[in-house]
């Protein structure tokens, strides 16, 4: 039976880890994800998990341990944040290239310099081309639900691709919420037995993992890899639906909030979407036709479905919690604007970077954005395609 527990984001991930009980957990503690690793270590010491817990000397080594353990044939997970994910960078590509279904909880935090421990999406956005599936969570409940589903998605035989689940540093990782923690047995049943694919510990089979490719094979292997993440959408949808059938909370590629008759829309991921919902409610009370689209899956990017949901808007504001210096807008914006390009009557799309280094975003800021969208919708004119929110100018 489902139990209501008061947990913060890190604890919900640790609870999910305890229930799934992977074969190997390799992680190096880093703020704000430290409590995940610490709690797992405690679970191990208390005999609550049977998996092997490895605490190596760095995140680069932690991901290397994951790669080795996953190649050997185990169900494997890790957790990290910020510089930790950055240090894993070269190994992230190897995990994806070897098609290893590793699951990682990433507590989203800014990147140095200047050093800062608070939440933004710079870390995972920096890893957006590594080949990992990326799922973002609005609150503790979603972090828990996404993390459980991540194993099913990553390990599906048509996908076999690593998955990272993002939750915002401090805002989610350290905030207490009431969370439905499902029954241990039911979670184990939902995740199912781990299916090995060519495990290295199968000594009856001669094989090589990760050999060098020259110009004649590298390209084919990379194309073969891309197929895994491109197979993911139907599996993500199926797993999200089955999760709903089992536990009452259904998931898909994104959430639409009060979008039915909306004329303008704000697109924002993760914890800020929660604040945005309050802003939308207030604006709706004032009679404004504004809605919210909250992407959940960033990789593979559900461009067709998002474009379908946004194509009839007059104006769309995409809010990014990371910057892409020198690029034409931040990561989420470029994806969404690009997705809409083929529609003749596409909406005007603008971009706001917000919340870097944990800078607050409040209801008033969403209202400010909605006001700008209304003006664009009325006049059809865009004054600034991209800008910044809550920044001292």
């Amino acid at each position: 039976m489902s139990v209501l527990k008061t947990l913060n984001g890190n604890q919900t991930i640790a609870e999910a880890v305890r229930q799934v009980d992977p074969d190997v957990l390799a992680a190096y503690p880093i703020t704000p994800s430290t409590a995940i690793v610490e709690t797992i270590a405690q679970f191990k010491a208390d005999g609550l998990i049977s998996g092997e817990f490895v605490c190596p000397e760095s995140e680069h080594s932690a991901m290397s341990v994951c790669i080795g353990a996953s190649s050997a044939g185990g169900r494997v997970m890790t957790a990290t944040a910020s510089q930790g994910l950055a240090l894993m960078w070269e190994m992230l590509y190897i995990a994806a290239g070897l098609r290893l279904p590793i699951v990682a909880a990433i507590v989203n935090r800014s990147l140095s310099a200047p050093i800062n421990i608070h939440g933004d999406h710079s870390d995972t956005m920096g890893a957006r081309d590594t080949g990992w599936i990326q799922i973002y969570s609005e609150n503790c409940q979603e972090a828990y639900d996404n993390f459980i589903q991540a194993f099913r998605i990553a390990e599906h035989l048509d996908v076999r691709t690593p998955v990272l689940v993002g939750l915002d540093g401090f805002i989610i990782s350290h905030s207490l919420e009431v969370v439905h923690v499902e029954d241990d047995k039911k979670i184990k049943e939902f995740v199912g037995e781990y299916q090995q694919v060519y495990p290295l510990l199968d000594t009856t089979r001669k094989m090589t993992v990760g050999p060098i490719d020259f110009t004649d094979y590298y390209f084919e292997h990379k194309r073969n890899q891309i197929e895994g993440i491109e197979n993911a959408p139907s599996i993500i949808e199926k797993v999200g639906k089955e999760y709903g059938e089992s536990f009452g909370r259904t998931y898909s590629f994104f959430e639409e909030y009060r979008m039915d008759d909306a004329e303008v829309c704000i697109v924002v991921m993760s914890s800020a979407a929660g604040t945005c919902k309050d802003a939308i409610d207030e604006l709706r009370d004032e009679g404004k036709k504004v809605g919210l689209l909250k992407p959940r899956i960033f990789r593979p990017f559900p461009y067709e479905k998002i474009a379908e949901a946004l194509k009839d808007m007059k104006a769309v504001a995409v809010l990014d919690r990371s910057s892409s210096p020198g690029a034409f807008g931040a990561p989420l914006f470029t994806e969404i604007r690009n997705s809409l390009y083929d529609y003749d009557n596409r909406p005007k799309v603008v971009n706001y970077v917000y919340g870097l280094g944990g800078r607050d975003i409040m209801v008033e800021h969403f209202k400010e954005v909605a006001g700008k969208l209304e003006k664009i919708a009325e006049t059809g004119k865009v004054e600034e395609i991209y800008g910044y929110l809550n920044l001292r100018e």
Binding site: L98, R160, V209, Q225
Partner: protein, 104 residues
């Protein structure tokens, strides 16, 4: 050798034909020089066999007997390391030959 399409490859770069590097004739990499074995100078120290990065030193009945040109890349390490008073391996010029079906 027919090369697979991306759809035919095993996922995750896994090669189920372990040991197939024997089919990769690295001797085709030689570019103008090859080692020549001079049997009468050889003191059977096995330095060449130890240092050769491609296992291209031929050994028969526990004695070095020559070079396997199918795999010798002509790197010259064997000739460099050979300690005998009169070198028992020397690098000589060789006409470059392309492997069958290969273009330069």
């Amino acid at each position: 050798m027919k090369k697979e399409t991306w759809k035919e490859l095993t996922i995750g770069t896994i090669n189920l034909d372990a040991g197939n590097s024997i089919k990769n004739l690295t001797g085709t990499w030689r570019s103008g020089h090859k080692p020549e074995f001079i049997e009468e100078n050889c003191i059977q120290c096995f330095f060449c066999w130890l240092y050769c990065p491609h296992f291209a030193i031929l050994v028969k009945d526990e004695e070095v007997v020559g070079i396997n040109y199918d795999y010798c890349t002509g790197c010259g390490i064997c000739a460099e390391e050979c300690p005998s008073k009169e070198k028992s391996i020397v690098m000589v010029k060789e006409e470059i030959k392309l492997a069958e079906g290969e273009t330069s």
